[in-house]
């Protein structure tokens, strides 16, 4: 009877601590490039694609390379693992997830944010009359 309660509460306690610690470790912050430079942890950076500098897919390494300006107006080269994401050209802002490495931001994921649906819809409804 007693052993059971001890086992049960132990498991619950371990579970809670384990969950909390993992949560802290895995939470990926939103920062700017300057903050990303000073830490080697994985972070999110939100910003805009620097359109003038284009973007290139390096077929040999399978990486998409482009320049990005974060919300604090700091610009950095971004190397994304994988091909150019869908909606990349039309995105109003992008979020990259990854970490800073010698001279560039190495991104494992990229999310695109598209123009507000309503504005887009108001335009397209006119075209379909």
């Amino acid at each position: 009877m007693k052993i059971k309660i001890i086992i049960a509460s132990l498991i619950i306690l371990i579970g809670i601590v384990f969950g909390a610690v993992s949560f802290m470790e895995s939470s990926v912050e939103y920062t700017g490039f300057s903050a990303a430079k000073s830490t080697h942890r994985k972070v999110h950076v939100k910003g805009e694609w620097v359109r003038e500098k284009g973007g290139e897919f390096d077929a040999t390494k399978s990486q998409f390379v482009f320049y990005m300006r974060d919300d604090d107006d700091e610009e950095m080269k971004v190397v994304l693992e994988g091909a150019k994401p869908n909606n990349f050209e039309v995105a109003t802002s992008i979020v990259v997830k990854g970490s800073y490495q010698n001279g560039y931001f190495h991104a494992s994921e990229l999310l695109t944010k598209c123009p507000s649906k309503y504005e887009g819809d108001a335009e397209s409804v006119k075209k379909m009359l």
């Binding site: 059971k4 086992i7 498991i11 384990f18 939103y30 284009g54 897919f57 399978s62 050209e89 999310l111």
Partner: protein, 777 residues
């Protein structure tokens, strides 16, 4: 307009039904029951009419309705056209409401037979009323000119041949035009999965409400035990259906969407997984209460929690709270819907747990009689571990909300969080699903129990040992594999024995066998998958992933401007061909990619296309500049000065003679400037581009397209390309297809495992229904 009115009437009568059912509960009399049933049936009828109307509008392309315009188009085949019914938020709430109604008819009959009607249907009508209120707010029957008044409402004379208009106010000459074509369905959703998957998922969500209503009924009538017997078949059924839905979603992601795997820990996937886990935990504790009267409170908590979590998940994925932290784009549903969903959750949570707390004191305290070696204790540990997994996934999925409250800004956990937190409980679940089967209720004989562990234990040890020799080096994964293999062996042995006795009782063992197979499939296909990105130059064979010879042979167009890219695969003399698909979608304004898979018995060979590189583009970039603008290209700055028409004589051009047009570019590097002029030569209609090389960085500049503006010369534009001759990327040659090839060993285990789990559920539903019927009547 009719649709809207019908929905409102349905809402009103559902609400009336709530009042009547609660009245008959309070007065404990049957006087109000006919009214309650009547108004419930009117609500059901209303919803059916509204749903039929929406379907009719979709099938007949009535684009004067915003919803129809927003999600369908005339070029969709009929099954997909039908599926646009639930492609958007309004429609999916409509589908959910419709299923709630259909299920409600059966539930009313069932609860009547079991004598639970008043309480069960009282709570169930509350659920229906809320869903209908949601439909009143998020109206699928909104007219498009109400959505876009500025664009569509006009006044004044009509154009002569116009048919797509309606008069809004003929006296004042006000009319509205509506579109003749719809925006269409997101191409990612355009396949047969869209026809089945949401249906199954919403059936699952709907059925999840039944255990909740029975738990509430139990609390209302102070029935703390019998409700479990009546609710159990529904709980198993709900878990079976929702589980099937989740599995179909995973298969969809794997087979068509090209996510590379069957599970991405995305909020949308997680949000159906969480209530499913809770319902699975609840099945286990319900079984224990039926056997030995334990877990009275736990069962109430889990039944309430599973539905509250369905609602919370809906809130997470439909309210826009997750913001930019997910790959799915969440449409903001508007303030009303947001608060309504929040109110929905709050009310059900407080009502459920509030009532439970009120009744807590009078609940019978069952003295705990089972020992540590009892099935009850194993079930308790197993169920709590499952709840832990659900909580971890819940916390991870809600992390944007949690971090916003704690830190003031949204951030999401990394995918690794889920893998890390679910592995240890996964090991525990696997072990317990084996051990639990060997234990007896109340108490087990130690000697006999340990003896029965022997064969499966040794078997799992040998199995895992073999894999370690084979190259499995990851210790936690090896432990997980051992636990899964152990569970598999135990359940096969136990299951076989039960099956020989009475096949109907084998549901549990079958489900656990499936689970163990699934776990083993996770290890092999996710942990030991092998990936490589390859550039396939047309016609050249490349060998990847030890022994797969890939040859890209060219592409061919499919219907609707889609392209299939044919790749020949050869492995040990066997030949296959795959044809992954890529196309540009206007809808999502980007490339859509569909993978292709070779399904072999022991593995899948998975090819996902990344891009097609045209030969001339290799090592070059193309830039468009307006007159006077400049741009940074690698280490120089380039300014487009003007076109050079000096060679063009009007006469020559008109006669179709030869002429040359140049584009003057100013190159600047470290303060040094130079002008170069790439040219376009037109020799009797044959066009040739002549590049110009910069002496500053040796790059070659060529004209791609000229866009002179005669009316406003300052608006003239030039598209040109820059090539770095020293560039390392493969310069000349054939078009190159870039693909990601991967091998998923034994992924069939995942599919076979999930199917087996579902089969186990079905056997159990069948048996529990018999049990509920046999003892209830």
């Amino acid at each position: 307009m009719i649709g809207n009115i019908v929905v409102k009437i349905a809402f009103a009568s559902a609400f009336l039904s709530v009042l009547c059912y609660f009245q008959s509960y309070r007065k404990r009399s049957g006087t109000y029951l006919p009214y309650a049933r009547g108004s419930f049936h009117i609500a059901v009828l209303g919803v059916m009419i509204a749903a039929a109307l929406l379907l009719f509008y979709i099938l007949t392309h009535q684009f004067q309705y915003t919803y129809v315009w927003n999600y369908s188009s005339t070029d969709l085949p009929v099954p997909l056209l039908i599926s646009t019914f639930y492609a958007g938020q309004e429609g999916s709430f409509m589908l959910w409401t419709l299923y709630t109604c259909i299920l409600g008819i059966f539930l009313m009959q069932y609860s009547m037979r079991k004598g639970y009607e008043t309480e069960v249907m009282a709570v169930y009508s509350v659920i229906l009323s809320f869903l209908l209120l949601m439909l009143v707010v998020k109206n699928p029957f909104a007219y498009i000119w109400d959505t876009f008044p500025n664009e569509l409402i006009r006044s004044g004379p009509l154009q002569a041949d116009m048919v797509n208009f309606v008069w809004l106010d003929q006296a004042r000459g006000m009319w509205a035009q509506f579109p003749t074509e719809g925006k269409g369905l997101n191409p990612l959703l355009q396949n047969y999965w869209m026809v089945i998957h949401p249906q199954v998922l919403f059936t699952g969500f709907t059925t999840m409400s039944v255990p909740f209503t029975f738990a509430m009924a139990g609390l209302l009538r102070r029935d703390y035990h019998d409700w479990v017997k009546v609710a159990k078949p529904w709980t198993v059924f709900a878990a079976a259906v929702l589980g099937t839905g989740i599995m179909l979603g995973g298969f969809w992601a794997y087979e068509t969407l090209g996510w590379g795997g069957f599970w991405g820990w995305d909020p949308v996937e997680n949000s159906s997984l969480i209530p499913w886990l809770i319902s699975v935990a609840s099945i286990h504790t319900m079984m224990s209460q039926r056997r030995s009267g334990t877990f009275v409170r736990t069962n109430f908590v889990l039944a309430i929690l599973s539905y509250v979590l369905v609602l919370y998940s809906t809130f997470l994925t439909r309210s826009g709270v997750l913001g930019e932290t997910s790959v799915h784009s969440f449409v903001d549903p508007g303030m009303w819907a947001y608060w309504l969903l929040l109110a929905f959750i709050t009310i059900f949570t407080t009502a459920g747990f509030g009532l439970l707390v009120m009744r807590l004191r009078e609940m019978p305290k069952i003295p705990v009689e089972h020992s540590i070696l009892s099935r009850e204790f194993a079930l308790f540990l197993g169920a709590s571990t499952i709840v832990f997994v659900a909580m971890f996934v819940l916390i991870g999925t809600s992390s944007p909300i949690i971090t916003e409250i704690l830190e003031g800004k949204k951030s999401a956990v990394d995918q690794s969080f889920y893998v890390k937190t679910t592995l240890p409980p996964g090991i525990l679940i696997a072990l317990l699903s084996g051990i639990g089967q060997l234990l007896w209720w109340r108490n087990s004989k130690k000697g006999k129990f340990f003896l029965s562990l022997l064969y499966p234990f040794v078997g799992a040890l040998v199995f895992t040992g073999g894999l370690i020799v084979f190259g499995m080096r990851d210790i936690p994964i090896a432990i997980f594999t051992f636990a899964s293999a152990f569970s598999l062996f135990v359940n096969v042995l136990v299951g076989y024995r039960i099956f020989k006795g009475n096949p109907r009782f084998a549901g549990g063992s079958i489900a656990h066998i499936g689970l163990a197979l699934m776990f083993l499939g996770f290890v092999s296909s996710v942990r030991y998958d092998d990936k490589a990105t390859v550039s396939l130059e047309k016609g050249k064979t490349v060998e990847v992933l030890s022994g797969y010879k890939l040859t890209y042979v060219g592409y061919h167009p499919l219907e609707r401007e889609r392209y299939a890219f044919n790749v020949e695969v050869e492995k040990d003399g066997r030949r296959f061909s795959v044809a992954p698909i890529m196309y540009y979608s206007d809808f999502s304004q980007g490339l859509v990619r569909n993978p292709d898979i070779i399904n072999l018995f022991t593995k899948d060979f998975y090819i996902s296309p990344l891009s097609l590189e045209e030969p001339q583009k290799n090592g070059t970039r193309s830039v468009t500049l307006r007159k006077g603008e400049s741009i940074q290209v690698s280490d120089v700055s380039v300014r487009f000065v003007d076109f050079d028409f000096s060679d063009v004589q009007k006469g020559k051009m008109l006669e179709g003679g030869s002429f040359v047009i140049g584009a003057i570019l100013e190159i600047e590097k470290n303060g040094k400037k130079e002008r170069i002029v790439p040219k376009m030569k037109n020799t009797r209609g044959e066009i040739e581009y002549v590049m110009a090389q910069s002496s500053l960085n040796k790059n070659e500049f060529s004209i791609v397209k000229m866009m002179p503006d005669r009316e406003d010369p300052s608006n003239s534009k030039l598209e040109f390309s820059v090539r770095d001759p020293q560039s390392t990327s493969a310069a000349k040659g054939e078009e190159t297809l870039i693909v990601e090839a991967s091998i998923k060993p034994f992924i069939n285990l995942v599919w076979v495992g999930t199917l087996t789990v579902v089969l186990g559920f079905i056997v159990t539903v069948y048996r529990r229904r018999q049990e509920a019927r046999g003892e209830g009547e």
